[in-house]
């Protein structure tokens, strides 16, 4: 039986040790449907790569984790030239509802979950959700109004402290 020199095994490098030190902080400041998804998708991607991820929901972004609002975020053509539709159309009655429903359908077709389910997945993946103290106070919201998975209503300084050394995204 002939023997050949065994070559080094080719095995994917998942860099578990390197990945464990990385932290991402995402500040979600917008409550439009189309502005909620970028933060959620990036958070989900980072978690899937073993990156510790914190999301801070502030100003309109608080809608994303507010129970009464999170399943009902909207998309409007108004002020968004990227739809390449006449801006006047966007102001007509029913247009925002139509644009929202169309966007939700496109998202669902790509097998991307709706916002509440997406947040479940992010939390299940080990993501941390934080609400902004000032925004909660402005809207008279307490923890009872927010998704149970939100770990706390904290100040901006607390968030900065918690995410020391993190890479940061403002959306």
């Amino acid at each position: 039986m002939s023997t050949t020199e065994p070559a080094a095994a080719v095995v994917p490098k998942f860099d578990d040790d390197e990945g464990s030190g990385r932290t991402l902080a995402i500040i979600c400041s917008k409550g439009n449907l189309d502005m909620a998804y970028p933060g959620l998708i990036l958070a989900n991607a980072a978690l899937g790569e073993g990156v510790q991820t914190h999301l801070f929901f502030t100003f309109w972004g608080l809608d994303i984790i507010t129970k009464a609002r999170m399943a009902d975020l909207k998309f409007t053509m108004l002020g968004n030239t990227a739809t390449h539709m006449p801006q006047g159309l966007g102001g007509l009655p029913g247009m925002t509802a139509m644009a929202t429903s169309k966007m939700k359908k496109s998202i669902a077709e790509l097998d991307v979950p709706e916002v509440p389910e997406f947040l479940d997945q992010i939390v299940g993946s080990g993501g941390h959700l934080w609400a902004c103290r000032l925004s909660a106070d402005m809207n008279h919201l307490t923890t009872a109004d927010l998704l149970e998975d939100v770990e706390g209503i904290i100040s901006a300084s607390d968030f900065i402290e918690k995410t020391e050394g993190a890479q940061l995204l403002f959306i």
Binding site: A9, V11, P12, G48, G50, L110, V112, G124
Partner: protein, 104 residues
């Protein structure tokens, strides 16, 4: 495509090490692949691998984490426990499938 030898099994892989020939995979090889990345397979792991293989055969692409969870009925949290840090890629590797390409 390079050929690599893992614990006595000769397999075709891409540059990163993911298997490129579906037919080379079997239950025994799954255990070998898992060992390469520091995992010991249990029935829980194997149930997920079985789902991924079936799903790939039907759809022609590797399930993303969300699909793997929804399809296998295993919560995302448990997928992270079973395949720590990078579950989607690790599951695909051990199942002998290409890396998932979907974003979510």
């Amino acid at each position: 495509m390079p050929v690599t030898t893992l614990d006595g099994h000769e397999v075709h892989v891409d540059e990163e090490g993911f298997l490129t020939d579906l037919s080379e995979w079997d239950d025994e090889l799954a255990g070998v692949l898992a060992a390469q990345i520091g995992l010991t397979l249990t029935d829980e792991h194997r149930a997920i691998l079985a789902f991924l293989r079936t799903d790939y055969a039907e759809r022609g692409e590797t399930a993303t984490l969300r699909r793997a969870s929804a399809g296998s009925g295993v919560p995302v949290k448990d997928l992270f426990r079973l395949f720590p840090q990078k579950p989607a890629k690790k599951m695909a590797y051990v199942a002998g499938l290409p890396k998932p390409v979907g974003c979510v």
